[in-house]
């Protein structure tokens, strides 16, 4: 499989999955109880497609997403069962060292709140360049130049100046762009975006969603998008998986799921979503 094949719209059911989650179960073992956060989840992410995982709080969508790079806190998290296949390898069985080579390089993540994922004490440019120095062994000058280019690509004005600034000097929208630049600078084949626009104002959200879509079209990476917002799903996803109480209750093409939902919970979720009717 080549990594930079331009994407075609929609996913073909026959497309080879770049990432496959099979029968995943994740438990959180607390002092007195065990919470079964993820119960036998299966997801296939094809190259170049955007698969949205949508659900309400407690549905297990974030626990599922974090499992891919084993980022759930252990303890209390226990990966109780299943496989997560990437390049023919089960990510759940890799050593920390093997997984560390994949994190940020082949599979990257963007989180809801950039302020908690960016280091407040380091300049943003250095944080974007870090991936390249760590994974690619680039020299400092090479990595810095690539980082400036990455900031430019995500639409940050005056990237040379921004490169030298600290996270607190940037607005929420710019910080989220920095996060995306840092995630994409290593040219990952899979981008996992966990509520990437939830903390943003609606006009900034629109810009970030458009940016994610255009970057995906340019680089052809697969995107696993975690969100609670069906509006965001409709605007960005090719396929959608609806999660409820730790299970995937429905998976399908966005058009099918939105217009011919098969599952009762999906129907209720769609009915509860307020829509702006301007006609």
């Amino acid at each position: 499989m080549t990594t930079d094949k331009p994407m075609t719209t929609g996913s073909k059911p026959t497309a080879e999955p770049v990432l496959e989650i099979a029968d995943l179960s994740v438990d959180f073992r607390l002092d007195t109880t065990t919470v079964h956060a993820v119960r036998g989840v299966g997801l296939r992410l094809a190259q170049g497609e955007t698969l949205a995982v949508v659900g309400e709080s407690g549905s297990g969508k974030t626990a599922t997403a974090l499992s891919v790079l084993r980022l759930n806190p252990q303890p209390p998290c226990v990966y109780a069962g299943g496989r997560i296949l990437f390049d023919g390898r089960d990510l759940l069985t890799l050593s920390e060292k093997q997984l560390g080579a994949i994190r940020g390089q082949d599979i990257a993540m963007v989180f809801q709140d950039p302020m908690t994922s960016l280091d407040p004490l380091r300049r943003v440019g250095a944080q974007v360049a870090e991936v390249l120095r760590h994974h690619r062994g680039l020299s400092r000058a090479e990595a810095d130049a690539a980082a400036v280019e990455a900031l430019d690509e995500v639409g940050i004005p005056d990237p040379e100046r921004r490169f030298r600034q600290y996270p607190h000097e940037l607005s929420g929208g710019l910080r989220q762009r920095v996060m995306i630049a840092g995630a994409l600078v290593g040219r990952p084949r899979v981008l996992i975006a966990d509520e990437p626009t939830t903390a943003l104002d609606v006009t900034v959200q629109r810009q970030i969603l458009d940016l994610l879509v255009s970057l995906q079209e340019r680089h052809g990476m697969a995107v696993l998008l975690i969100t609670h917002d069906l509006g965001v799903v409709a605007e960005t996803a090719d396929r959608v998986a609806v999660m409820h109480q730790g299970r995937v209750v429905e998976t399908g093409d966005v058009l099918d799921v939105f217009h011919r939902p098969a599952d009762d919970y999906t129907r209720r979720l769609l009915a509860a979503t307020p829509r702006l009717e301007l006609a």
Partner: protein, 310 residues
């Protein structure tokens, strides 16, 4: 009409009148958080205040609750200038305007029982609610209030952490209604809730408004929610109201470019009208960044008016 700058429809008696409100913070090099805001809210209506973070809507809300003194301008409630009232008079008037905040958990003392939380404004405002007789009376009134917001009256001795976000928001609504206010300020009351819970809370608010003739000042960033609840909409940006009018009018025929920009930005939960529709409409703004290698992206500076299909 959108041109009548904030006056309430003639059929409604004005309950809340803001005139020339201004609030500056931080002295000489400070900022103007609220800049010459005039707005009238009629009795029994829902006015929605819409704006993005930093636009001044929270400061405006604090000014109208008199939690903050304005630098200039007046707030009149039922004809009385809040700034001209003696402290005791203001305290008496305050029971008529109550507030429900976004995060019900952080607005409740976690060590108080549900009963004590809901009864707090009664004890503050109603001398009869104090003492031994008062306590008995309070249990009855709190039980009735909890039932009126769809909770079991028997939860009075339990604590906030035992309840879900939606249930806690119902408790804070019960608390706001405890002293039978005429105006309720709802500051992003459903923003922290899941959509299915949000829908039920919005239904509850509508029912309570109808039953009690309440006036709502509804602060929100979510235009889809605002469309469901508002009679009129005020759009705020950089401390100023850029547009005020009937809800249907503002949403369908916005007069100010910023209102248009806000409307275009709302994600539409319909894939036929979203990205694919835009892609089908041709190489417009949404895909313009898809080819160039340089400073691409999606037009960070200006409005991302990609809604060609809408």
């Amino acid at each position: 009409m959108t041109t009548d700058a904030g006056t309430a429809p003639k059929t409604r008696r004005p309950l809340l009148e803001l005139a020339g409100l201004r609030k500056e913070f931080g002295g000489r090099h400070g900022t103007v958080a609220v800049d010459d805001v005039s707005l009238t809210v009629g009795e029994g209506e829902t006015l929605a205040l819409v704006g993005e973070s930093g636009c001044g809507k929270t400061t405006l809300t604090r000014l109208l609750l008199r939690l903050e003194q304005p630098t200039a301008g007046t707030v009149r409630f039922d004809g009385q200038d809040l700034g001209a009232l003696a402290p005791a008079e203001l305290r008496r008037l305050r029971r008529q305007f109550q507030v429900v905040l976004q995060d019900p958990y952080s607005s409740m003392n976690p060590r108080l029982t549900i009963s004590a939380i809901v009864a707090e404004p009664m004890v503050t405002h109603d001398p009869e609610a104090r003492g031994r007789n008062g306590r008995r009376q309070i249990r009855e009134r709190v039980g009735a209030l909890l039932e009126s917001v769809g909770l079991d009256g028997g939860i009075q001795d339990r604590y906030p952490h035992e309840f879900s976000g939606g249930q806690r928001q119902r408790v804070s609504i019960a608390r706001a209604l405890a002293v039978e206010p005429r105006l309720v300020v709802l500051d992003e009351p459903t923003s922290a809730l899941d959509v299915s819970v949000q829908a039920r809370i919005l239904d509850l608010l509508a029912e309570l408004q109808q039953r009690r003739g309440l006036t709502y000042f509804f602060v929100s960033h979510n235009l889809a929610v605002v469309q469901q609840v508002a009679d009129r909409i005020a759009v705020m940006r950089q401390g100023r109201l850029v547009e005020v009018g009937e809800a249907a009018q503002v949403l369908r025929d916005p007069q100010h470019p910023y209102t248009r920009q806000l409307l275009d930005a709302v994600p539409v939960p319909d894939p036929r009208r979203g990205r694919r529709a835009r892609a089908a409409a041709g190489a417009d703004a949404a895909t313009a960044g898809g080819t160039g290698g340089g400073s691409g992206g999606a037009g960070h500076g200006g409005p991302a008016t990609a809604g060609g299909g809408r």
